[in-house]
């Protein structure tokens, strides 16, 4: 599906609102300020995925989009391994950065992801009047590309390109760099753009 410039703008605005709410919750959890990038929308051919997401080690907390659409795609809290350790250290009052992500870190990441993604989806639901609920979270701490391609494989055999929609959230004080990435299934994307267009035309 090709997005028109107007549709891309509308989705960007939606992402702005969702990510701003997610950033607020992250800021509260860290008791520190969090800034966010302008949301980036990329249509990526599957063969090119490796040019966008590499095999670096990262933690990904993944939620399936459910609610009014059953299998609506995915929303992901993505954080590099180093940032993930600094994040849980900050939350749990630890200082050792040269270590593995243990069970306590993993449950903290699941919880952070849960809170942020819920805030994101609450905000978008309020704006759109279209409810997307997060599934229970699943966590992968491994190569980012390996996790992402496994999710895309679940979207179905006819999918040859995907729309990735990501916003970077940065906490300068603690050097934490993370992203919220949305990977909508095509019918979800259509529904969202229709609703946004109806809102803008005032009908």
């Amino acid at each position: 599906m090709k997005l028109s410039a107007v549709q891309a703008d509308a989705i960007q605005e939606l992402g702005n609102i969702g990510a701003a709410h997610a950033a607020t919750t992250l800021s509260q959890m860290l008791s520190s300020s969090v800034s966010m990038s302008v949301p980036a929308i990329k249509t990526i051919d599957l063969a090119e995925l490796g040019n966008h997401i590499g095999d670096e080690s990262a933690a990904m907390v993944v939620f399936e989009l459910q609610g009014e659409i059953q299998h609506g795609g995915y929303i992901i809290f993505y954080i590099t391994r180093e940032s993930a350790i600094r994040l849980t250290n900050t939350m749990l009052g630890m200082t050792d950065t040269d270590r593995e992500l243990n069970e306590m870190d993993q449950s903290a990441l699941l919880e952070v992801g849960n809170i942020m993604v819920s805030a994101f989806l609450d905000a978008t639901a309020e704006l759109l009047g279209f409810i997307m609920l997060p599934s229970p979270p699943a966590l992968s701490v491994d190569m980012a590309h390996a996790a992402m391609e496994s999710l895309i494989a679940q979207l179905g055999e006819e999918v040859d390109e995907v729309l990735l929609f990501s916003t970077e959230l940065i906490c300068e004080e603690h050097k934490i760099d993370s992203d919220i990435i949305m990977l909508p299934e095509i019918s979800t994307l259509k529904r969202i753009t229709e609703l946004l267009e109806a809102m803008m035309s005032g009908t």
Binding site: L49, D55, V62, S135, P136, A147, E149, I152
Partner: protein, 151 residues
């Protein structure tokens, strides 16, 4: 670098990064020091023919055809595969694609009369695979923790 659904045939170094549930399959002719590598995403094409490298059922016959065209004999081909992991436990309810890919590749190789000489599949781990046809078909697999092994 070989992206999802892509393949290459030749004697130059080949690489595919971050295999999760996908499969990196190599076919190698030791006499000619030439081979092929493909990054398979799903088991069945369901009749689609536009991206043959993406599906196990279309990728393997295609590689065999291309290798045959450059004079590799099918009898001398050595097949190896890596990948087929299950990166997320929760979504495993939606049938395990990694496992289905692995099974399908095994079945088609058998159907085509090819022996699978080595594999590193399954688990909850991503793999980056490098294939060097000119250096005796050497295959190395790197995991997220940096551990590298040979296949």
């Amino acid at each position: 670098m070989i992206g999802i659904g892509e393949y290459r045939v030749g004697s130059f170094p080949m690489m595919t990064i971050g295999l999760g549930s996908c499969i990196g399959l190599t076919l190698y002719d030791p006499q000619k020091k030439t081979g092929a590598m493909v990054h398979i995403m799903l088991p069945d094409s369901g009749g689609r023919s536009d991206r043959p490298g993406k599906y196990a059922d279309t990728a393997i016959p295609l590689l065999l055809k291309e290798l045959d065209q450059i004079g590799c004999s099918r009898r001398s081909l050595v097949a190896k595969m890596a990948g087929g992991a299950c990166m997320f436990e929760y979504f495993g309810t939606n049938l395990n694609i990694g496992e289905r890919n692995t099974e399908k590749v095994r079945a088609i190789l058998k159907e085509q009369g090819l022996k699978l000489s080595a594999e590193d599949v399954g688990g909850k781990v991503g793999r980056t695979v490098t294939f060097l046809p000119a250096s005796g078909g050497k295959i190395s697999i790197r995991r997220a923790d940096g551990v590298t092994s040979e296949l």
